[in-house]
Amino acid sequence: MNKTLETVCSGLARRRRREIRFRWYGRIAIFVSLAFLALLITSIVARGYKAFWQTEIAIDVFLDPEELTPPTPEHLARADLAGLIKRSLRQMFPEVHDRRRKRALYRLVSSAAPYQLRDYVLAHPDRIGQTVRLWVLAGADVDLYKKGYIDPEMPASERRLKDYQIAWLRKLESEGRLVLRFNRWFLLNGDSREPEQAGIQVAFRGSLYMMLVTFALSFPLGIAAAIYLEEFAPRNNVWVDLIEININNLAAVPSIVFGLLGLAVFIGWFGLPRSTPLVGGLTLTLMTLPTVIIASRAALKAVPPSIRYAALGIGASRVQTVFHHVLPLAMPGMLTGAIIGMARALGETAPLLMIGMVAFIVDPPQSLLDPATALPVQIYLWADSPERGFVERTSAAIIVLLLFLGIMNLAAILLRKRLERRW
């Protein structure tokens, strides 16, 4: 007896050491992965957060009645609004006469300024004839200057703004006419060649619509397939086994293959319009479905059989057993699976390239059948653009994508919490 105790005691210290060591391995692993995640997020946020602010310039515009009456959209579309803006810029800097400098002066404001003027006139037709102070988007270089990307101390030949331009900007700043404001254009606009006007609305809506289509199709289909396979299909049947194997294989197929399939089937055969969220959603559904089925089956398997016996034992039919008792218990797990599949679909680029969702699209889609892009594709496109403003926007779009993902996951967690109140 004593001998046994001695043997046990001698090994005890070693066992404890091993346990402590193992715990440390775990902590280190978690720390390393968290550190990488933090690094990734901080670098993206550091590069992208400024895109959520945008430089705006206050100009005093004379709303010339000759040019602006009648203030109807049709008339204003033909009116020389750019001329009015140029005139007010010239009045702010009367000393500029040189043609080259004049052109530089006009470039202080974005080419979107005339549209802002149009919107203002349409909203306030009573102000025609007055001189009003209008905040318009600054040009891309002004934005860079304001955000500190252009160093005035550098030799003039190496920076994008000449000395006289910097002098104008300093004057505007001292008058309080050059201000960084929240960049609603980034959230409201579609893509643009000019970085200061480019926004993610088209890509965001494209992704949102696609997710809706994907969820609306893959969740019910996936659950139905999982329920059938798990609860009703005969076991040890060749066909059922074959279907199972194929579902597992499909989950591992590279996504670009699904893109090709979507191109051939939805666009080629069914003749659905290219570049639309509908086709994108359908393609991503193909990709997501196997994941949802596999996760849902696992969730069904995890429901204790005693629940099924209890229901069957008092005369519930198999369908009643499944829908009254098994499904509610499996729902949280199914939801988790669906969200994992959706998250993967949200970040997917390759299959969308195949079905033409890389187009340059300015107008936000109003329906599932309007052309759109998607967030990851937009990121890919902007990452390819050399302009400094697009670099910033690439990171900002990644932030939006991550937020989208975060909200989706949060919704899933909340929903699961509600369903999981399993008494």
């Binding site: 209890a310 034992g313 005369g315 039919s317 009254h324 218990l329 008494w423």
Partner: protein, 279 residues
């Protein structure tokens, strides 16, 4: 009835040759009759030529060493074997002279008539009320809420649980103690007003006090229902049952009045088991 049996004996199962159940397995007024029941799990035979009558309003105990086929036999009586993959039942089982394995017999209806209580208490993860009300709801036994309330109350009263839970019917059933859960499962079963209640070792997961409560309950339920109870406790069989059937390796060895089986077993295997030489 016995003439029918001899007629059907003309095609005996080769496996069961040389074996005959000791004691009279027939009854004058049976509720359930089983004749030549063979059960297979795949190629493996689990029950061999079981013949047994189960009477009205009696408690019959099935005893025997574990793995001898008691649960398998019990599951034959409400066709729960149907949902076990690879399980095949042969033979003739009749409930009130109706073949329960006939094509036109709906297992859903059968299980409403032959309820089952399981070894481990398995209440639904819902409220106490919903647990008891589930059966009546799916079978449409209650026309309105008042009737349903009544059914729930009577069932809980019959299961001896009403006093303990009447103030917290909306509480989760999983919050009850093991013994209460098992009585809730009994209430849930009798809420659909079955003719027969099958119980598969209903007390094996319970402490002695909860066991005593359930045993008393079984005795009370006997006035309304036929009860078939599987138990590994001979004391329990002796306390609650009027008849006892002893199973051994898939065969029904001996059946008879409980008092006789326990005081005067006729088959050596039965005697060995009862005197505790194995089991």
């Amino acid at each position: 009835m016995s003439t029918v049996i001899t007629e059907r004996h003309t095609t005996p199962d080769p496996e069961s040759d040389g074996h005959r159940t000791v004691g009279d397995y027939t009854l004058a007024e049976p509720r359930i009759t089983c004749r030549h029941v063979n059960v297979f799990y795949g190629d493996k035979q689990a029950l061999f030529d079981i013949n047994l009558d189960i009477g009205q309003r009696e408690v019959i105990a099935l005893i025997g060493p574990s793995g001898c086929g008691k649960s398998t036999f019990l599951r034959c009586l409400n066709r729960m074997n149907d949902i076990i993959e690879g399980c095949r039942v042969e033979g003739d089982i009749r409930l009130d002279d109706q073949d329960i394995y006939a094509k036109e017999m709906d297992p859903v209806l059968l299980r409403a008539r032959v309820g089952m209580v399981f070894q481990k208490p398995n209440p639904f993860p819902k409220s106490i009320y919903d647990n008891v009300a589930y059966g009546p709801r799916i079978h449409g036994l209650a026309g309105n809420r008042t009737e349903l309330d009544e059914i729930v109350e009577t069932s809980l009263k019959r299961a001896g649980l009403w006093k303990e839970v009447k103030d917290r019917l909306d509480h989760p059933a999983t919050g009850l103690s093991g013994g209460q859960q098992q009585r809730l499962c009994i209430a849930r079963t009798i809420a659909v007003n079955p003719e027969v209640v099958l119980m598969d070792e209903p007390c094996s997961a319970l402490d002695p006090i909860a066991t005593a409560t359930i045993e008393q309950l079984i005795d009370e339920l006997r006035s309304r229902y036929t009860i078939v109870i599987v138990t590994h406790s001979m004391q329990q069989a002796a306390r609650v049952s009027q008849r006892t059937a002893y199973f051994h390796m898939g065969r029904l060895i001996e059946v008879g009045k409980t008092t006789e089986i326990f005081t005067n077993p006729r088959h050596p295997l039965t005697e060995d088991y009862i005197t505790g030489r194995f089991g």
